[in-house]
């Protein structure tokens, strides 16, 4: 192994910009670190070179621990994005610089620099100064300079980033050839996926300081594990469904779950479909996995191919992460490609020719409070985040004139160490919460005690109806041992049982499934069987559950009485969804429970389970 990194970490101001990166790179390998700007990939490279000190972990080059050595003693060649050719030296002198300070004699220096000039394709240009060379030529000189003293490893930081597209492609090819010929172990950092795919032996995807996935181009494209890789590398569509009885359910489709991506029952499942895996046919497909009839909404010609975006009717209990659906989108949007010479149909049958189930995501909790200047309800969120092993995203919403940066800084100062991300939006709270849910997938939104007051009753009804994420309202509680799931609100829901059961399973709570009946006569058999199904579903989550039927004049009174008498830690109710029949907020049972339950309430949208 030429390069071995173990637990490499760098912190700036308490934040880990490089977070426990471990990596082994074989002799002669060309490894590419791929990530967006600010992901920490360049910091990794600079730490290997010794230009930035590390705060943890070790770096081994050719079996030698260099973690605490200065850059001069590491034997690396480094190529910078800005070339950094010494302006007052000719190209040949630049190349010979490393030999000069090592005391190599003049004649030998000249011979070597001429050899290298030929290698990088600049034969005869040795007498030129930097300002007499083009950007691409300067970068060739920089490469030759880094190779002249025969370093153990070669490190390149976005080496082609400052060049024109044509020159870039040319230089990339000749760089790949030189690297192969010399067999020097190389790490190249880039944000350009095409570049990574073209030259890399292996690629490491870096996001927010973590090396999240390593593989060759095909692995990362067709068999990614993480959502980040799936969406960062290449185009495609990602849907979220649920794991049910060992299969991934996306509406009527039940895809087998491969053994290498285990999912627990009830957990969200994400599937990646690459554009070329979307099959478009004129006739309804007789075999394969049909998604339905789609309508082409966008089409762009990109040379060899034509990219199209299709809208297919919404599948039950299926949501979309990528491409992000604009607010108000009724269907599901799919990315597909067609041969450039094929006419674009207006409508086509859509079926899947292939897909990849992504690894079970760690749950993500959205924590927000919609009132200006009020801290997000972290107290309420913490027990859930801990039980779900989930990460927290804090959303701050500014209304009016307050600058978003001020709120971001405030939230950052307070929560930076315990949350994964801090986002700030400006606008009306209910609207921004809804937009945030549309653009990102959350398992749970924690809105706290004040969330109820922030959203006025009229807009609250709309908000609850349009929300796609389970919403947790109410003051924090120390323990979550008893959960009440009310099936009596509106139509008997399935989502509330599933989401409530999943939470109960993760938190080790027991569940009471409640039905409120208006008269004292025994419950009709369909109610009983419905409750039995619910209990069966819950036992699938390894949750202790019992069913209870209560008699009360109204469903509301029954639920409130049961909640108070049983002193439940959480009340789970379904939201009516778009088909709500209540006319005003006053007769909306959901809102009335929110107002009077005096304990945390989880409102589960119909389609989220």
């Amino acid at each position: 192994m030429s390069i071995v990194l173990d637990g490499l970490t760098k912190r700036f101001g308490g934040r880990a910009v490089v977070d426990r990166v471990g990596l082994e790179i074989a002799d002669g390998e060309l490894f590419v670190l791929l990530g967006s700007s600010g992901s920490g990939k360049s910091t990794v490279l600079r730490m290997i070179a010794g230009l930035t000190s590390s705060d943890g972990g070790t770096i081994q080059l050719m079996g030698r621990d260099v973690t605490n050595l200065p850059p001069q003693q590491r034997g690396v060649g480094f190529v910078f994005q800005n070339y950094s050719i010494f302006q007052h030296m000719t190209a040949a002198k630049n190349i010979a610089f490393g030999l000069r300070i090592r005391g190599v004699r003049r004649g030998e220096r000249r011979r070597k620099s001429e050899e290298l000039l030929d290698l990088v394709g600049l034969g005869g240009l040795g007498d030129r100064y930097a300002h007499e060379l083009s950007g691409g030529q300067q970068q060739r000189v920089a490469l030759a300079r880094a190779l002249a003293y025969e370093p153990h490893v070669l490190l390149l930081d976005e080496p082609f980033g400052a060049l024109d597209v044509k020159i870039r492609a040319q230089l990339r090819r000749s760089f790949r050839e030189i690297q192969r010929r010399l067999g020097v172990t190389t790490i190249l950092v880039t944000h350009d996926q095409e570049e990574a795919f073209e030259i890399a032996d292996r690629i490491g995807v870096v996001e927010r300081g973590r090396l999240i996935e390593v593989g060759n181009a095909e692995d990362l494209y067709y068999r990614p594990d993480s959502l980040f890789t799936a969406t960062f590398v290449g185009a495609g569509t990602v849907f979220v469904g649920r794991c049910r009885e060992g299969r991934a359910e996306f509406g009527p489709l039940a895809l087998p779950l491969p053994p290498d991506v285990p999912h627990e029952e009830g957990a969200p499942v994400r599937v990646l479909i690459r554009p070329e895996q979307v099959l478009l046919t004129e006739e309804a497909p007789t075999e394969g996995l049909a998604l339905g009839q789609g309508r082409v909404v966008e089409s762009s010609f990109v040379g060899a191919l034509r990219r199209v975006r299709l809208r297919v009717p919404r599948l039950p209990r299926t949501r979309q992460i990528s491409p992000p659906a604009p607010y108000g989108e009724e269907g599901l949007l799919l990315e597909a490609v067609l041969p450039a010479d094929r006419a674009v149909p207006e409508e086509a049958w859509v079926s899947l020719g292939g897909w990849r189930i992504l690894e079970q995501p760690l749950p993500t909790l959205l924590v927000a409070d919609a009132l200006n200047g009020v801290a997000p309800p972290m107290e309420s969120a913490r027990p859930f985040a801990a039980a779900l092993h989930g990460s927290i995203v804090v959303l701050g919403i500014v209304q009016g004139a307050e600058p978003p940066e001020a709120l971001r800084d405030k939230l950052k100062a307070e929560f930076e160490n315990e949350v994964a991300e801090i986002r700030v939006r400006a606008g009306l709270p209910a609207e921004q919460l809804r937009n945030e849910q549309a653009e990102n997938f959350y398992d749970l939104a924690v809105l706290g005690a004040l969330g109820r007051q922030a959203v006025r009753s009229v807009s609250l009804r709309r908000f609850l109806r349009e929300s796609s994420t389970p919403l947790l309202f109410g003051a924090p509680r120390e323990k979550f041992e008893k959960i009440l799931i009310c099936t009596a609100v509106g139509e008997p829901g399935k989502s509330d049982v599933r989401v409530g059961g999943w939470l109960a399973g993760r938190m080790g709570a027991s569940v009471t499934l409640l039905h409120v009946s208006r008269d004292a006569s025994p419950a009709p058999p369909w109610i009983r069987s419905h409750l039995d199904q619910g209990v069966a579903t819950l036992s699938g989550f390894d949750v202790t559950a019992e069913a209870r039927v209560r008699t009360a004049p109204t469903a509301l009174e029954g639920i409130l009485l049961e909640a108070r008498q049983g002193d439940y830690d959480l009340v789970v109710i379904g939201s009516h969804g778009p088909r709500s029949r209540s006319v005003t907020a006053r007769d909306d049972v959901t809102i009335q429970i929110l107002d009077s339950a005096n304990r945390p309430v989880l409102v589960v949208p119909e389609d989220s389970g």
Binding site: Q72, R74, F78, F86
Partner: protein, 274 residues
């Protein structure tokens, strides 16, 4: 085209106003020095320069100017390097303090030097019994000039150093060059422009320094009298011809330095625009 013509047509008035204002303010005084210097004819001018005291004053001034430039070139570059490359507690304050000499009246500088190094000064008191007394000696003049001209070198070098990407040094480090080698072979050549500008400015200011020098030198002819002090002394004694002759030489020297400065500055601009 038409825009250029209107531009040229309307420029006559503002240009003539500017010239009219500048004539008595700048241009005529500059010319006056030479007119008066040569009024007595070239022979008188030559005699005035050849006078032993005048010769000493000119040579002493040049010597001090060279010494000041050499020492401040090193100190100023060091200060620029440290202030540009290192972040430490109080670095900003230090950056302001080292630039203060341009803001302090030079007479005040002279006074404070006397109060520090003079026979009854804070440090001078300790040195005096040892027979070391820099004030009213050439060393005192040098100290004053170092103080007064310190910011010029720093001011010329630090911006260049600040703007130079650190990747040049980092490239040298990864190649294997030590800090010192990198400074010598990579940074110093890149700083050439700033160094020359700073040196010329330091030299010119040292040559013309009066306020601090008059305080610390004691103005002793043939011992500590610089050219500007000589001019002042001759003027006071009513020997205007001698004063004017040296003044003309000083002015000529300054013109030459500024000629180089301007040429250098415009060439530097041409290079960076490429």
């Amino acid at each position: 085209m038409s825009a250029g013509q209107t531009g040229r047509g309307s420029s006559v008035f503002p240009v003539s106003v500017l010239l009219l204002v500048l004539l008595p303010l700048l241009l005529m005084p500059l010319a006056a020095v030479f007119v008066f210097a040569l009024r007595g004819g070239p022979l008188a001018f030559w005699d005035a320069i050849r006078a032993p005291e005048a010769q000493f004053a000119l040579r002493f001034s040049l010597l001090i100017a060279f010494g000041t430039t050499a020492i401040n070139a090193v100190l100023g570059t060091l200060a620029a390097y440290v202030l540009s490359k290192y972040r430490f507690w109080g670095d900003r304050t230090l950056g302001v303090v080292v630039n203060l000499p341009v803001a302090i009246p030079t007479v005040v500088v002279g006074t404070s030097l006397l109060l520090l190094w003079g026979p009854i000064g804070l440090l001078g008191k300790l040195l005096d019994p040892l027979g070391l007394q820099p004030m009213f000696r050439p060393a005192g003049v040098l100290l004053a000039h170092l103080f007064v001209t310190f910011p010029y070198m720093l001011g010329a070098v630090k911006p260049v150093l600040d703007e130079l990407e650190t990747t040049y040094e980092e490239a040298a480090y990864t190649i294997g060059a030590t800090r010192w080698t990198t400074f010598r072979l990579v940074l110093l050549p890149a700083l050439r422009g700033g160094l020359i500008t700073g040196a010329l400015l330091t030299f010119a200011h040292s040559l013309g320094e009066f306020g601090a020098t008059v305080m610390v030198s004691g103005n002793m002819r043939l011992k500590t009298q610089t050219a500007p002090l000589y001019i002042f002394a001759q003027f006071e004694a009513g020997d205007i011809a001698h004063a004017n002759a040296i003044a003309a030489v000083l002015a000529l020297l300054s013109f030459t330095i500024f000629f180089f400065l301007f040429r250098f500055a415009s060439r530097g601009k041409g290079r960076s625009a490429e």
